[in-house]
């Protein structure tokens, strides 16, 4: 036994705790690095110790994170939710952990109302509220159907979905099509403007995208590599959650030839589709999210792993899941983002955190790759160094660096990937999420964008459950 070369020469020392030992070492001319240790931010010390000592943990986390890094993402089809995930009549998907009409926030209610009107299940708003309140409509989280949805995430049977496939693990993930900004269903708006757009997306956009995607593949082209687009975005000032400008333009570039090649539709429809995509700087988000979902689903169900597979909010509660605890939700009251507001909207107009889009942070982009998108940090009046600092902190709560998602300003270091519940507890640093803000009153739409963190409670509950699983393993 050679102890890794320990006895071969004066050791470099990394020290945590009282400084008298470090001082004595420095007095001898030894190389000493003090860590800025603090008592854990939360968690029962016995639970923290049980997890730290679980002999399965390191290997399990390695397995989980390797699956995330290996996962790919191909755009293979565009289909209505009714067909692709068998979404039944009178069933609506929503973002975040499970919820009921009674606990739904304003924008969630607005989106649910809008979807009932869109599907023709209700004649007017009052009718929609009535059938939602008396349980005639089944509500189910997107995450329970290999699906993610931004903001309210409300997906109804007639809505078209991006169909993505992970060629490495064979997984599939789905997401509806992005409507654009302002008065949109996902932000809780449901007026005529919203309905008109949803109908156009159903009757024109969806079918054309389906023909375009299928036509390109049928012509022998490779499916669009969405993971590669996401990787390129980080080189172009996007972080893939709140800033998707480069990604949306690249997507337009990739899809345009096959959209133009779609036959049997009026050229005015083709033009409208191209204009719609080109005019929506978040168009890519609904492709980025299922890409992250594919990777995070690949890491599911690894006993002993403390890696976070889901970060998600429904406008009322924040929910997380971990690789070591299956599909169990750990929830807490959602925080309200801090940021900048459109027009004369202010903090009082903002709804608590909402949307499945925090899957981007779980995957290591979005807020975790803030350093790639310094423009985003100004949402809270921060500076470029703040953006770098955020990413630096996130390296200490994650298990790996994703070499596919390189951040130029960090010396092309890979994005911090794979949140570890134990590291979050020990550092007390909660994940940093970039997000849009919906108005708290149903029907308002978007009021701003900003930064938010999950409630600590989610991680407290997950830590306790993981420790319990360790003890009974």
């Amino acid at each position: 036994m050679t102890l890794g070369g320990l006895l071969s020469g004066p050791p470099a020392v990394v020290a945590a705790g009282v400084d008298v030992f470090s001082d004595a070492l420095r007095a001898q001319g030894a190389e000493v690095h003090d860590v800025d240790w603090r008592p854990p931010g939360f968690g029962d010390p016995a639970d923290l110790a049980a997890l730290a000592l679980d002999p399965r943990r390191n290997a399990a986390n390695r397995v989980a994170v390797e699956r995330i890094l290996a996962a790919g993402s191909q755009l293979v089809d565009v289909r209505p939710a009714r067909e692709v995930i068998g979404l039944a009549d009178r069933t609506l998907l929503h973002s975040g952990p499970p919820l009921t009409w009674a606990t739904a926030s304003g924008p969630m209610r607005g989106a649910l109302i809008g979807a009932c009107l869109f599907e023709g299940w209700a004649t007017d708003v009052e009718d929609a509220e009535r059938i939602l309140a008396n349980g005639e409509i089944t509500l189910d989280p997107c995450h329970h159907h290999r699906t993610v949805g931004p903001m309210a995430g409300v997906t109804s049977p007639s809505m078209w979905m991006w169909c993505l496939k992970d060629p490495v693990h064979g997984g599939q993930a789905f997401c509806n099509l992005n409507e654009g900004l302002g008065k949109v269903l996902r932000m809780g708006a449901f007026n005529d403007e919203v309905q008109t757009r949803l109908v156009w997306m159903r009757d024109v956009l969806g079918p054309i995208l389906q023909k375009a995607v299928r036509g390109s593949i049928d012509a022998g082209n490779d499916p669009l590599d969405v993971k590669s687009v996401l990787a390129q975005m980080l080189q172009m000032g996007d972080e893939g959650h709140n800033r998707n400008r480069a990604g949306s333009l690249m997507t337009l570039r990739e899809l345009s030839p096959s959209i133009v090649a779609v036959e049997g539709v009026p050229s005015s429809d083709i033009a409208a589709v191209l204009k719609f995509i080109g005019g929506n700087e978040h168009f890519f988000l609904n492709l980025g999210m299922p890409t992250a979902k594919l990777a995070m689903d690949a890491a599911r169900d690894v006993p002993g792993s403390s890696l976070v597979t889901v970060l998600s909010r429904n406008g009322t509660e924040f929910g997380i899941q971990t690789a070591g605890t299956g599909d169990r939700w750990f929830t807490g009251p959602a925080n309200t983002p801090v940021g900048l507001f459109l027009g004369d909207y202010g903090p009082d107009d903002a709804n608590p955190d909402i949307g499945d889009s925090a899957i981007m942070e779980a995957y290591g982009v979005g807020g975790f790759s803030m350093a790639a998108a310094p423009a985003i940090v100004r949402f809270v009046g921060g500076t470029v160094p703040d953006a770098l600092a955020t990413t630096e902190r996130m390296y200490q709560v994650t298990l790996a660096e994703n070499p596919a998602m390189a951040i130029p300003i960090m010396g092309f270091r890979g994005s911090p990937t794979g949140i570890d519940v134990l590291k979050v507890a020990r550092t007390g640093w909660l994940p940093q999420i970039n997000t849009g803000m919906a108005g708290r009153i149903a029907g308002t739409g978007q009021v701003g964008a900003g930064l938010v963190q999950p409630p600590q409670e989610c991680f407290e509950k997950a830590l306790a459950a993981l420790a319990e699983a360790t003890r009974t393993a």
Partner: protein, 490 residues
């Protein structure tokens, strides 16, 4: 007052413009501000605010729409918009330093240095996660923290064994690795003797005596005081022995421990016999009670002369008949050694770390009769520093002995070296002087250290001798001297 203007040829991104809007709207007398590109969405927002432009617009134009209470406020707001649009952020492009919060992050930052070692002195209940970080990174770790549950110790040491690294501790106060002193350790010369120590002060006593005999140490690997107990089973001792056996600088090994579990002692001895480097035991027991004798045996093994161990004789003073031994120790192993040496001559000695459970003092440190107290024991260091740093409790006990009127001989250890009080005699001499003025109290001191220590053995010895103490480099010699004074030589 309102102003709605459109500018062409000016572009700023939406985040910047939202910031400008927010900052300008915060000024007194300004009720609404929208500075934004004239996109359909923003025009709708402007209309909702009653600030829609009347002229035709295009999305490339910048809309500056402001409502204010009066002309001055409006002019001020317009000027503020211009200033904000012209302002440049100072960008350094460099991150503020983010501190590493865990041993894992610290080792990560250090990079691939294979000889790196982690030292952990955080509260015991949190030490295990930090130690596990080091093991996972393939590094050895010294855990100074006490209060680590024994089942955690076993789990850590098993994981370390599998990873091919060493856990020194928990509650490991002393180590020397390739000449670098960690924790409480003395300045000793480099040399061929490797120590494996389930005992901090035992390792200090032995390494200091070796140094005084001109023999240096290669490494002192502490393994924690519980390592040779039944529950731990010598996990770290076996790994440390194997590591020293493989180390080129180590020609002989000395194993030092408080009294171990017999089964573990046997297993360790058997393992030691199988190594290529000779292993000598300085494991304390009733049969082998004397660390100094173990050092002398090693010197003889090496064909070297045993020196006269340094000392300062005490004054010739009469001891009151019926006097008892009062041992006030900072080092647990030295206290054990004293009890093992003195018990055959004195009979039962009560202690907070007794040789037999029925001799336990409990919390009553002022018990009468023969008493040896280990002030470094966990129970007495909760919420305070080790007595080698903070002498308060021991000085109190010293004053109590003098005030009690019970005739006694006082026996103490003073440990020098890194981590210890920079001038222990400075605090002890006034207390000894006061005590000896109050009562006839002969004082015998085991002074563990070397001339090379920051405090200097001779400087401390002279100061203590001047206060009337007899001073010995060997704790065994000090104990025998005290027994002589008590007329109870073994």
């Amino acid at each position: 007052m309102r102003s709605v203007a459109l500018r062409s040829g000016v572009y700023a991104d939406s985040v910047k413009l939202m910031q400008v809007s927010r900052d300008v709207a915060a000024a007194d007398g300004v009720s609404a501000v929208l500075v934004a590109m004239a996109t359909p969405l923003n025009l709708e927002l402007a209309a909702n605010m009653g600030l829609a432009p009347e002229e035709p617009t295009s999305p490339e134009q910048l809309l500056i729409a402001i409502r204010a209470d009066d002309d001055d406020a409006l002019a001020g707001a317009l000027a503020a918009v211009d200033a904000a649009l012209a302002a440049r952020e100072r960008s350094t492009g460099s991150a503020q330093a983010i501190p590493q919060r865990t041993i894992g992050a610290g080792l990560d930052e250090l990079g691939g240095d294979g000889s790196a070692l982690a030292i952990i002195s955080v509260p015991g209940q949190y030490a295990v996660a930090e130690a596990a970080d080091a093991i996972a990174a393939g590094r050895s770790v010294l855990v100074f923290s006490d209060g680590v549950p024994v089942e955690h110790e076993v789990a850590l040491k098993r994981a370390a064994h599998e990873a091919g690294v060493l856990v020194m501790g928990p509650d490991c106060g002393t180590a020397i690795v390739a000449g670098v002193a960690l924790g409480f350790a003395n300045v000793v010369r480099p040399g061929p003797v490797g120590l494996v120590a389930a005992s901090g002060t035992g390792a200090q006593q032995i390494s200091c005596l070796l140094d005084m005999a001109g023999v240096g140490v290669s490494h002192v690997l502490g393994v924690g005081g519980r390592d040779l107990k039944e529950e731990v089973g010598g996990l770290a001792t076996l790994d440390a022995l194997a590591a020293l056996d493989a180390d080129e600088a180590t020609e002989r090994i000395l194993l030092v421990s408080k009294p171990p579990a017999p089964s573990v002692a046997q297993a360790v001895e058997q393992f030691g016999n199988g190594l290529s480097v000779p292993v000598r035991s300085a494991v304390l027991s009733l049969e082998t009670p004397d660390l100094t004798a173990a050092v002398e045996g090693l010197l003889t093994d090496m064909g070297l002369d045993v020196p006269v161990w340094p000392s300062r004789p005490g004054p010739a003073e009469a001891v009151v008949p019926g006097a008892v031994l009062k041992g006030l120790y900072s080092g647990g192993t030295l206290a054990d050694e004293t009890m093992l040496l003195a018990a055959p001559a004195l009979g039962d000695i009560r202690s907070n770390t007794p040789l037999r459970p029925e001799l336990d003092l409990g919390t009553d440190l002022s018990a009468t009769g023969h008493v040896v107290i280990d002030f470094g024991d966990d129970a007495l260091t909760v919420g305070r520093a080790h007595p080698m740093i903070d002498p308060t409790l021991r000085l109190e006990a010293l004053a109590n002995v003098a005030a009690s009127g019970e005739p006694a001989v006082l026996l103490m250890d003073v440990v020098l070296g890194y981590g210890a009080d920079p001038d222990p005699a400075g605090a002890l001499v006034p207390a000894l002087t006061a005590a000896r003025a109050q009562a006839s109290l002969p004082v015998v001191i085991a002074l563990v250290g070397t001339e090379g220590d920051p405090q200097g053995w001779s400087r401390q010895a002279d100061a203590l001798a001047a206060a009337g103490a007899a001073v010995f480099a060997s704790n065994a010699a000090a104990t025998r001297y005290a027994l002589d004074l008590l007329g109870a030589s073994s």
